[in-house]
């Protein structure tokens, strides 16, 4: 046990921003002058933390800073992070496409990467020829490819076109063929970057299944980058969270995903602007899961707590005339469902004046996507206050059914329900 196959030590990577031109030459000469005198690169000290959204002072930026981790043999390590957190840079270093500015990566096995499928296809060559070419680029020998040729063709589902030049292929067919070649690679360490978001639904299922085979069935070491929390949770044994080029957390998938989702929330305030109604009573403040963000990221199946503060306290008899609705709409602006105190039989009207209405949903049974919430407050059957798109929650896919399979919202609808199947 405890067989470490890959060791990453103090990896840092600096990038220069802006254009390459005459000004760059001055820096290069400067750097060279330091180098021949045996001094350290002067520009390594000036880099800034890599935050995409903030405009910095320096031309140099650290895409990765002091990355340290170890991977054991047979482990599936997930890497998550926002766009620009340094995931791809890390994978590029690991797959030897570019060298780190500082630090070392040590490995005991071959690393092969599925960074982006389909590079190295030659449009004029037939599918069969391209399988050989692409396989060789990925590091397979001719013999290996020959052995697997039939499997590769069968997996791609392009058997009919296999002797036709690839330029006649549709994009989808190219992707299928490319993924099929890569899927039959047998390196010690496989690096996978978002390749599953390819092809049609049928092929995606096939691809994810194949990934599971590789990691679980064959016991291969896999580094897996994805924004898809379902597959991260289903496939990985440990997860690294990258933030602005640094490792924020290494933990179990559940904890890491939770941490990542929390950190990913933006700081936009809830808007109370888009308002209709006579405003006799109105919502003054909304608190969601303890925060005041307009965008709230929640995992499917997790719970959510919403608290609404009214402009003034309601007397018990006033409260009885209040109906409060939350209309949840999907990305297409069509209502998915509505929540209301009217729909809760256990809702108790308090005996004293109240200022707060609270709602808790245990287990959001929604598929992944962006849901906006419109609040609707009526008093005595008259609209008192309506806030359109008051806040949004982004539901992130997790392994809701604990089977690793998830329906896609567009095709299969927006609801998730636990269900029992049996056969007889």
């Amino acid at each position: 046990m405890n067989d470490i196959i890959l060791k990453v030590e103090n990896i840092s990577k600096q990038y220069r921003l802006g254009l390459i031109g005459t000004g760059t030459l001055r820096h290069d000469l400067n750097r060279w002058w330091y180098k021949i005198r045996g001094k350290e690169d002067p520009f390594l000290q000036v880099g800034e933390v890599n935050d995409r959204s903030v405009k910095g002072e320096s031309d140099y930026v650290w895409a990765l800073q002091d990355i340290n981790f170890e991977v054991e043999k047979g482990e599936v390590l997930g890497i998550v992070g926002k766009n620009g957190a340094g995931k791809s840079t890390l994978l590029k270093i690991l797959s030897r496409v570019t060298a780190p500015t500082q630090g070392e990566v040590k490995t005991k096995g071959d690393i092969a990467s599925l960074l982006e499928v389909g590079t190295g296809f030659h449009p004029e060559m037939t599918g069969r020829e391209n399988i050989f070419l692409n396989g060789a680029i990925l590091g397979m020998t001719k013999k290996e490819i020959k052995q697997k040729l039939e499997q590769i063709i069968a997996f791609s589902g392009c058997a009919r076109y296999i002797d036709t030049p690839v330029k006649r292929y549709s994009i989808g067919m190219r992707v299928r063929l490319a993924f099929s070649v890569a899927a039959f690679l047998e390196p010690d360490i496989l690096v996978v970057d978002e390749v599953l978001a390819v092809g049609d639904a049928e092929f995606q299922k096939k691809a994810i299944g194949k990934m599971q085979d590789i990691s679980q069935g064959e016991g291969r070491t896999v580094l897996f980058v994805s924004h898809d929390m379902t597959s991260i949770e289903a496939l990985c044994s440990r997860v690294i969270v990258l933030q602005n080029g640094k490792i924020a957390l290494i933990d179990t998938p559940q904890k890491a995903i939770e941490f990542y989702l929390k950190s990913d929330q933006t700081d936009d305030e809830i808007n109370y602007v888009n308002v209709r109604g006579d405003k006799q009573f109105y919502i003054k403040k909304i608190t969601i899961n303890g925060g005041h963000n307009r965008n709230n990221i929640v995992k499917s199946g997790s719970s959510i707590k919403m608290k609404f503060e009214l402009n003034k306290g309601l007397l018990p008899e006033e409260l009885k005339k209040i109906a409060f609705y939350l209309i949840i709409k999907n990305e297409l602006q069509s209502p998915v469902l509505t929540l209301s105190n009217m729909y809760d039989s256990s809702f108790e009207y308090s005996k004293i004046a109240t200022r707060y209405l609270e709602c808790e949903i245990k287990g959001i049974n929604l598929t992944e996507g962006r849901y906006s919430v419109t609040t609707w407050l009526t008093f005595n059957n008259a609209l008192s206050n309506q806030i359109n798109d008051a806040f949004v929650f982004e539901v992130i896919q997790t392994d809701f059914y604990k089977t690793g399979k998830m329906p896609s919202p567009r095709e299969h609808g927006y609801m998730l329900l636990n269900q029992n199947w049996s056969c007889s």
């Binding site: 405890n2 390459i20 290069d28 270093i93 030897r96 630090g103 020829e129 060789a136």
Partner: protein, 288 residues
């Protein structure tokens, strides 16, 4: 269970690099890729053309005709007893191989950045494959040369080979090394600053005129201003072209001195190219 010596690691990725880090074992492991690239170049070159490989013949033939018209008929450059057309065809055949190797490899990094940016394989495979696949082109052009050679021989012109023909493979290797070496140097230097790229086009043209392609070294000594002659004489390419004509047409001169000089300088340029190429390949993707 935890014995971890550093030599246990298969390889290390770091920012440091050795001066000469060519990993022959690795290149050997990727030999199938080399073969695939060569095959790709050869197979795909004539897809969807009518004349196909004939294009290879047309270019040197026409150039030879023009050279003969301009330099020999108009410019009165003497080619001794050799038919001027054959003289030019020999020079151009040799020169073309070098030129194709140089121009084919000089854009290795910029042309292949998409694939280099995604997968790792020993980068040197790419220029090597160009050099090898150009051999085919060279072979075809050599055949057409031999055809004309035979024709002139039958017609009774004074053409003869000499024993130096045994050195033929060495000359091919020298041309390949020179083209590859220079190409790798240029491709490495153009990753960040593209200035050299502009130079390649007409630089190659200039080099051709300076390397005794349309004339013999003896003619150059006779007619060039004194200060230009050393440039012509010490260009390793001059020696290759001259040597090529010497063994095929028995014209010009040959000395073991200059042969050794050419051999050594080809190797030096090739090694220099390898070193610069290796230094560049690790980080070029950030600057290309």
């Amino acid at each position: 269970m935890k014995i971890q010596n550093d030599n246990q690691w298969l390889y290390t990725i770091s920012s440091k690099h050795k001066l000469f880090a060519l990993n022959f074992k690795e290149i050997w492991r990727y030999r199938d890729l080399l073969a695939m690239f060569v095959k790709r170049d050869v197979v795909t070159l004539y897809k969807q053309t009518i004349l196909g490989p004939l294009w290879y013949l047309i270019q040197p033939l026409f150039t030879s005709v023009i050279f003969t018209l301009v330099f020999n008929n108009l410019g009165n450059i003497s080619t001794g007893s050799i038919p001027p057309f054959l003289f030019n065809l020999a020079s151009i055949t040799a020169w073309n191989y070098f030129k194709e190797c140089l121009t084919g490899t000089s854009n290795t990094f910029t042309k292949n950045q998409a694939i280099f940016g995604k997968v790792y394989f020993p980068r040197v495979i790419m220029p090597m494959s160009v050099t090898i696949s150009n051999l085919l082109k060279f072979g075809i052009q050599l055949l057409i040369f031999l055809g004309f050679y035979l024709y002139y021989f039958i017609v009774g012109s004074s053409v003869e080979m000499n024993l130096n023909i045994l050195l033929f493979p060495v000359y091919v290797i020298m041309m390949a090394l020179l083209g590859l070496g220079l190409g790798m140097i240029i491709s490495s230097m153009t990753t960040k600053y593209r200035d050299l790229h502009v130079l390649v086009g007409f630089g190659v043209q200039l080099l051709m005129y300076l390397s005794a392609v349309p004339y013999s070294v003896a003619e150059a000594r006779l007619k060039f201003p004194e200060f230009v002659v050393p440039f012509v004489e010490y260009s390793p390419l001059t020696q290759i072209i001259e040597g090529f004509r010497y063994m095929l047409l028995n014209s010009g001169d040959f000395s073991w001195m200059s042969f050794t000089y050419t051999l050594v300088s080809s190797f030096v340029i090739f090694l220099l190219g390898l070193i610069i190429f290796n230094k560049t390949e690790k980080k070029f993707i950030d600057t290309v």
